[in-house]
């Protein structure tokens, strides 16, 4: 019918697909192959070593420390962020006259959201200062409220270094999910809430029995996104922590181990094996999260 359809399609699709093929598809494909070799980047040919890299990973204390720390982040970051965000979103929407939202809720949302816009590099540098022992904000704050017994070098103490990194991730992410959850909560029809209140339901019951089930889709999305964030952590750790990754591998994460193996030690095959492992972890967890949080969809109409 319309002539030149295929000429148009080829002309339109060739540039993006070429770009995508060269810089995205081919590196990903090569990574799976490199993971099976002992390539050091210098020798002309990579020698196939089978699954040796993967068996080595399980005996590598650094990689195991990284796995442990990412597992901690994976538990702590989504849980804390979602709990806080749900709490603040509920405060914003359930308060006020006839539960139409507290006054100034727009302003709170504007302020809460801002950290989401700060790049990880900025967060890293800023919070390195916040945690500085001598003249940092956190110790200064503890001093000001008379809790100076709690003062410490947050990033130099193996017990507090990883929680300190976790806190930065949560600090920066909460606002985004407050906005996401508030939007979802506002779309819950007011008459349902009013009916429940007339039946004598308190705020907690309304939240648990009505609001939460109706915003569950958003919580599920949040879980997946925050999980992916927690599996990374590279930039914050690389900029903020001593070593980086220290003290005593307390803040080592998979991305950092991979980066160091590749670009400091030139173990490109080994680093690729870490990448492949990370990929399968991501894939498994995403599938699990989507399955575990799956519920009956609630129809509002």
């Amino acid at each position: 019918m319309r002539h030149g359809k295929y000429r148009f399609l080829i002309g339109a699709l060739a540039p993006p697909l070429l770009l995508y093929g060269v810089f995205v598809v081919s590196p990903y494909a090569q990574a799976f192959y490199l993971a099976l070799t002992d390539w050091d980047g210098l020798s002309a040919e990579a020698r196939l070593v089978g699954l040796a890299n993967f068996t080595d990973l399980w005996g590598d204390p650094l990689f195991l420390a990284a796995l442990r720390n990412n597992a901690f982040l994976l538990l702590a970051v989504p849980t804390a962020t979602i709990a806080l965000a749900l709490f603040f979103a509920a405060c914003l929407t359930l308060g006020g006259r006839r539960r139409r939202g507290v006054r100034g809720s727009g302003l709170y949302r504007i302020v809460y959201f801002f950290p989401q816009l700060l790049s990880v590099a900025i967060l890293g540098v800023l919070f390195q200062f916040v945690y500085t022992p001598g003249n940092g904000l956190l110790n200064g704050l503890l001093d000001a409220v008379g809790l100076d017994a709690l003062q410490r070098s947050w990033l130099a103490d193996p017990a507090t270094a990883l929680p300190a990194v976790t806190a930065v991730m949560v600090w920066s992410a909460v606002g985004f999910y407050v906005v996401l959850f508030t939007a979802a909560m506002e779309s819950v029809p007011a008459d349902i809430v009013e009916a429940a209140v007339l039946d004598g339901a308190g705020n907690l019951t309304v939240f648990r029995r009505i609001t939460l089930p109706l915003v569950w889709d958003s919580v599920q999305v949040a879980y997946v996104y925050l999980g992916i964030l927690a599996l990374d952590g590279f930039a914050l750790v690389q900029i903020m922590t001593v070593g980086p990754g220290g003290p005593d591998n307390a803040t080592e994460v998979i991305g950092l181990t991979l980066y160091r193996a590749a670009f400091t030690y030139g173990e490109f095959g080994y680093a690729s094996a870490m990448g492949v492992t990370l990929f399968f972890i991501t894939l498994t967890l995403t599938a699990l999260a989507l399955r575990a949080t799956k519920r009956e969809r609630v129809e509002l109409a």
């Binding site: 359809k5 295929y6 148009f8 339109a12 540039p15 993006p16 697909l17 770009l19 810089f23 995205v24 598809v25 590196p27 990903y28 090569q30 990574a31 980047g41 603040f88 405060c91 308060g95 006259r97 507290v102 006054r103 100034g104 709170y108 949302r109 302020v111 809460y112 959201f113 801002f114 989401q116 816009l117 790049s119 990880v120 590099a121 900025i122 890293g124 540098v125 800023l126 390195q128 916040v130 904000l137 110790n139 200064g140 704050l141 000001a144 606002g175 985004f176 906005v179 999305v221 949040a222 590279f234 930039a235 900029i239 991305g255 980066y259 590749a262 670009f263 990448g275 990929f279 991501t282």
Partner: protein, 275 residues
């Protein structure tokens, strides 16, 4: 009466978090105007006299000005490229039937599932072999390539939802395929383009890992990279006031954009998550 007390308690809780969010930023602003001696003396003291010189030093000597320019070039270029290619690509996949359509779409969207760390090592060598390490165009191409999957995914849904009748009418009036896209469909997709544009801009502006690996030349450092490098080197020279100033300069453009377009920015970013 009861609700008024309850509302008071709510405001107390909500204001506490607002303070927690603002405090580190406000503290950094104040610190950027103090002398190093004042910074070491106490985290709470106000500057005796605002040291604007810190800002000038950060801009000129520490190179924040140059890093900002580099970032604008790379992010601007990549954003223009990915919006054009992504829109064309999403449009073709959404509005044309051809063999392999589904395959191409799934191949593109699958890119969102893979962690960038997996591609990192081979990507370094691909860019190296093309002679593009540490160049603007190298970074622009890589940034655009990695922003493509989400852009196509988002706009694909958007182009699907546009009515077919307008395009049909344009074809009957003798418009070419490219003409229909640029003059009819693209203007209709503007809201979607704005959302995904904001999303991409922030994502690219905040890139740290890719430039760290692909952009080793300090003269071409982007802001995130330059700031992190500065944190290390300024620490040795203990020019903390200069570093605070650099930090604030890096935050200011984003803050300014947020104040002006906060509604669109929040809508754009959350729309990205809901899809």
């Amino acid at each position: 009466m009861r609700t008024r007390i309850a509302d008071g308690a709510l405001h107390l809780v909500l204001a506490a978090w607002a303070a927690l969010v603002t405090l580190p930023l406000a503290w950094a602003v104040v610190s950027s105007l103090k002398t190093d001696a004042e910074i070491f003396a106490s985290p709470w003291s106000l500057p005796a006299e605002p040291q604007w010189d810190n800002w000038i030093r950060a801009w000129r000597e520490a190179g924040i000005g140059r890093y900002l320019l580099n970032t604008l070039i790379v992010v601007g270029g990549a954003l223009a490229l990915v919006m054009l290619l992504g829109a064309v690509c999403a449009y073709c996949l959404a509005r044309y039937d051809f063999p392999g359509n589904r395959l191409v779409y799934h191949l593109l969207v699958a890119g969102m599932l893979f962690p960038v760390f997996l591609a990192l090592v081979p990507l370094f060598f691909v860019v190296d072999q093309l002679g593009m390490l540490g160049t603007y165009h190298g970074l622009i191409l890589v940034y655009a390539a990695y922003a493509l999957p989400f852009t196509v995914f988002f706009l694909h849904a958007f182009f699907r939802s546009l009515p077919a009748a307008t395009a049909e009418a344009a074809f009957i009036d003798g418009c070419s395929h490219a003409g229909v896209f640029f003059r009819v469909m693209l203007p209709m997709a503007r809201p979607g383009m704005v959302s995904v544009g904001i999303f991409n801009f922030l994502g690219l502006w905040n890139q740290y890992l890719l430039p760290l690996v692909l952009n080793p030349d300090p003269d071409r450092y982007v802001l995130a990279q330059g700031l992190a490098a500065l944190a290390v080197s300024q620490g040795y020279r203990s020019d903390f006031s200069g570093l605070f100033a650099g930090l604030i300069i890096a935050i200011l453009p984003v803050l300014l954009a947020y104040v002006l377009f906060q509604r669109q920015i929040r809508a754009g970013l959350t729309a990205g998550a809901v899809r």
